[in-house]
Amino acid sequence: MGIQVEIVTPRRELFSGEVDMVTLPGVEGQMGVMRSHAPLLTILDIGEIVLHREGQEDEHVAVGGGVVEVRPDKVIVLAETAERAEEIDIQRAEAALERARKLLAERPPEERRPIELALRRSMVRLKVARHRRRRPAAAGMPRFREEEEEQE
């Protein structure tokens, strides 16, 4: 018997289904949640959610922070942004990473915080994108795009 997982962002419902285990990037560390976990509420860091299912390949989702509620039979992830590995535009993520690196070197220390966050989001995106299960969507196909990562 697995655990029900729901991943929602302000723009859409990304995932709703049963998995055997889910790995979440909590602010106090990575955690794996299975059925009958103790009730828990925690803030999510920028990172990677992994959905594990018996006999199936893992599904990877990049999240840009949020909150998660764990109940014994259900996990609700309120993510600020979330994208499946297949949805990530690698070129855009690489460009964003490059831009953030450049800005980080140029700007004074007090302006660096948002840039650092953007940098981490890009890195997570790229990491998650390596876990594509299928071939990426063909060029020109409409693809869902979460928030723009512009930090001009």
């Binding site: 509420l41 803030i43 309120l78 600020e80």
Partner: protein, 289 residues
Amino acid sequence: MASTREIRRRIRSVRNIAQVTKAMEAVAASRMRRAQQQVLATRPYAQKAQEVLSYIARLPSLEDQMDVLIRPREEIRRVGILLVTADRGLAGGFNANVIRTAARFIQEQREQGRQIEAVTVGRKGRDWLLRYDPIIRAEFTNLPDPPTTNDTAPITRVLVDDFSQGHFDEVYMIYTDFVNTLVQRPVVHKLLPIEPAEPSVAMAPDYIFEPSPQAVLSRVLYGFTEVQVLQALYESLASEHSARMVAMRNATEAADDLIADLTLTYNKARQEGITRELMDIVGGTTALE
């Protein structure tokens, strides 16, 4: 009766108008479909956030240190409103209706001795306030369609900061709720302080919080406020496009009626001209004989 040439010119100009309104109708229709889908897509997050909120807001351990966003103020002296209108007109009564609702609300609040200030989204609401009642605290125009949380973040920030620093004691959103394609309703909705719903499921008494209950609660409250603002904008956009589509369809139909009318008048005038010429010819031949 107007000359046939004049009538022909009017027909041509009305036909051009009908073409424009028809194109605008088609554009509004496709944007409306997208906006409607977005309204639906945002609801799960709002529901789930409300659910989580209704749990933690009632935690006994949090009673003494309730978050500022959830604590009702004893005395309401200053009220903030977020007025959501469109940037553009030609949408029937869309802007006028929501502005009228806002005007009534502002008057009611003032009668209770409250000071009121507005944050506006959309050019129409801003222009109206600038002209009649310049109480603008902040204004946002030209948001992308559809907006994302990146675009609404500054709006939420302004409202939340003003509320938590005591500049506002209550914050309301005034926007147009999308009911269906033909019905859109201007509504006044309290945004802050947040009033959590009654929990629908019994809550486990011993939640673990990481890093702390206060931190988690304040994060959820902020996220909830943000999604409410986003949802108000989506509702308003769906309403705007529907109102514009209907208005443009009416305009196209009116133009088509006018064209039919004018064509009849034109044919009559033409017939009359032909009759007159025939009479002339007949008169001429009779005179020759």
